[in-house]
């Protein structure tokens, strides 16, 4: 007995799936089952799962020499997604199921010992690869909702046994997502934090990185969690990019696909690999999961210094590049950084009615933990103070998220009308002309810059924030008020 078969599948590399052909050869010799082509342990273990699943689904396993080759050979293959293509290849080669339905099919899935098919992480990436190559995707039926991508022909099967009668009809999905994502929280729950809310609106409108400083319990985390509710919903492209990263990381991507901006809040014990990505095979980190959304670092000075500094490159390049012995991988990481910090280790420096017990030098050291280069990339620092208890007891409501979201959208539209370049990416000359300041405003700018000894970069950063503030206030020209407010958001960290 001599038989061959080739089945298409793929393996994850970053957020991309590279096509892999599974070649099966069943030939004479001592009965054996070997997988070659740089498989990792998970792929090697496919042998046992395939053996049991094939029998459990009522098929026979040939008593012959089975060789599975994963091609291209030099590419490392990992994951459990090869179970299904290997099983299909075996069954086609032994003529237990017909060959022709699988000609334009990419199969991927993990087998359970009773022959059922389980979903694997990164199905969305597999679906995109299938779409690109004009194939339909054969995978677990459980994962139906994961692969909600327009133009993908998707076959969901529950068990290997279903393949006996050929392939179920692939259906192309045309999904329409709800445009306005639902949020469980709302800005109206925030009381007495007008200054901080204003800063967050500006941060949302101008995609500025912002750091909130304040005593514990003042509402920094509460404010940050509400930031996604005022961001405009994700665009079509952005949804796909963000969902892809979620899918690769094995996380639920339904919220992202419905347009909600990602909000990631890693704990301050996060490792560098956890924050920017890494591991073997390299997985996206929190910075990439926050792509097109918000990366919230609570208790920012408590993060490991090296971990924190590793964010500098992604903030600048808007993507994470991991360089490993096997090669380079890039994960997109265009996020807005929102930090929260206590003013000092005890948390009460400047707090009304609470004495700070920290020596001046400790306060200084605590603040310097974030580090100059990273602070340089944070455009706005706003203070969040404990609101007076009377305001909280009065149970009044603040401005709703819907209203603030309108402000943000209007400001973004105004900025887009003015220039195709985003304010946060403008060069100095472009920015100065975009601000269209009058003579007296320019002299105020000079006065502020002189007083605070601002560097060239400091002036640019000030103007960026001022431009956004004017956009939020629906003004064409930057006024002295905007400059004064913008310098107020430097909070003693002026440089």
């Amino acid at each position: 007995m001599c038989a061959h078969c080739t089945v298409r599948t793929g393996t994850l590399a970053g957020v991309e799936v590279l096509p892999v052909d599974v070649e099966i050869d069943i030939g004479p010799g001592l009965p054996s089952f070997a997988i070659v082509g740089l498989p990792d342990t998970a792929v090697q273990e496919a042998r046992e799962r395939v053996r049991s699943a094939v029998r459990a689904a009522g098929y026979d396993l040939p008593n012959a020499r089975i060789v599975v080759n994963l091609s291209p050979g030099p590419l490392k293959k990992h994951g459990t997604g090869f179970d299904l293509p290997i099983a299909i290849g075996l069954l086609v080669a032994t003529k237990q199921i017909p060959a022709h339905p699988f000609e334009f099919v990419t199969a991927v899935g993990e087998l359970s010992l009773d022959g059922r098919i389980r979903p694997i992480p990164g199905l969305l990436a597999h679906a995109m690869m299938a779409r690109k190559n004009g194939c339909s995707l054969l995978a677990s039926r459980e994962a139906d909702h994961y692969v909600s991508l327009n133009g993908v022909a998707y076959c969901g099967i529950e068990s290997l046994a279903e393949l006996r009668s050929g392939l179920p009809v692939a259906h192309s999905r045309v999904t329409t997502h709800d445009r306005t994502p639902k949020h469980a929280v709302d800005f109206s729950e925030v009381v007495g934090q007008d200054g901080a809310v204003r800063a967050l609106v500006a941060a949302a409108a101008g995609a500025h990185n912002v750091l909130m400083i304040g005593p514990p319990g003042a509402g920094k985390t509460m404010l940050a969690r509400r930031l996604p509710t005022i961001l405009p919903p994700l665009g079509e492209e952005e949804r796909l990019e963000s969902a892809l990263i979620h899918s690769v990381a094995g996380l639920d991507d339904t919220d992202v696909l419905s347009g909600a901006r990602p909000f990631r809040a890693p704990h301050h014990t996060a490792s560098t690999a956890g924050l920017i990505g890494g591991g073997s095979p390299p997985r996206p980190g929190e910075a990439s999961l926050a792509h097109n959304g918000v990366l919230f670092l609570d208790e920012m000075p408590e993060f490991g210094p090296a971990t924190l500094q590793s964010l500098r490159q992604p903030i600048e390049d808007r993507l994470v590049t991991l360089v490993r012995a096997e090669g380079r991988l890039s994960f997109p990481a265009s996020f807005s950084l929102v930090g929260a910090a206590n003013p000092c280790p005890c948390g009460h420096h400047g707090d009304t009615g609470r004495a700070c017990r920290c020596p001046a030098s400790t306060v200084e050291r605590y603040r310097s933990r974030i580090g100059g280069p990273l602070m340089d990339r944070i455009d706005m620092v706003c203070e969040v103070w404990r609101p007076p208890p009377a305001l909280i007891v009065a149970n009044r409501h603040g401005t709703t998220s819907a209203k603030l979201r309108d402000q943000v959208s209007a400001a973004r539209e105004r900025a887009a009308r003015r220039s195709t370049t985003a304010t946060s990416k403008m060069s100095g000359a472009e920015l100065i002309s975009a601000c269209s300041m009058s003579g007296s405003v320019t002299s105020d700018l000079e006065m502020i810059a002189n007083h605070h000894h601002l560097s060239g970069r400091g002036v640019i950063r000030l103007l960026r924030v001022a431009r956004t503030l004017a956009d939020v206030d629906e003004k064409d020209c930057v006024r002295s008020d905007d400059l004064a407010e913008a310098i107020g958001y430097r909070c003693g960290t002026v440089s």
Binding site: D194, G195, G350, A360, E383, P388, M447, A484, G488, C491
Partner: protein, 289 residues
Amino acid sequence: MSGATRFEIGLDDPRYPAQLKDTPDPPKRLYGFGQISALRPGLAVIGARKATPYGLSAATMFAGWAAKASYPIVSGGAVGCDQAAHRAALAHEGTTVAVMAGGADIAYPSGAGALLDAVAVNGAVISEQPWGTRPARWMFRRRNRIIAGLSMAVLVVEAGLPSGTFSTADDALAAGRDVLAVPGSILSPESRGSNRLISQGATIITDVTDLRLALAPLLGEPHDEVHIPGTVISESSDSLLTALRANPMRADDAAVALGTDVITITRRFGLLEAQGMLKRYSDGRYGPA
């Protein structure tokens, strides 16, 4: 701490400062470098480490005037008011003495090395601890009696409650020295200590004339008329400025006090600060510059 000549003087040394010898518990031996002649009777200017711009400007103003009047300025070299006093004395080419808690050759706080070197050029850096002694907590209280003993009057520019500055004031009283204090806002926790001293009988110092009247009987009339600008307070019709002059406030508190919104206040703060009218404190409050 190189360059300057080191000296060691025992209690029976004729160069030992007489006014210090008179105190109840004079140090047995003084280690130091710089000019021994700087250890003549002077004015101690002390205050909190966590000083506000108010305390710093009071220290700068009064120490500057006294240095120009050729009174030696004695202080402890600590961050905040102490260093402001040393700096003001140096700026007016006066004599200033830093009394260290640890060994005189150990720069403490660690960032003060350059300042102490400058102090030793015309003044002195001294300690009762032998060379190379690392400062320990108990030494600071002991050190305070030397600051009080070297000077004829102790001026407290800003002190909260509780405060180490109080122990120097106690030592001053024990040695029979005058205690002078600069009043602050009754609402400011940073001035609570100096206000308490005044209520307990310390001489109130509100301008250089007060200081001159207090010091003349102790240290002699200054050599010539000394004018230090900055003692004249300009009148202001601005309600925000007036409010902040009485009591430095954060933007949110100022908004409540003036019945306006916090964004308006943030803008006013930004412009007034750039105009040099206001200054931001490290804890987020704004006060007069």
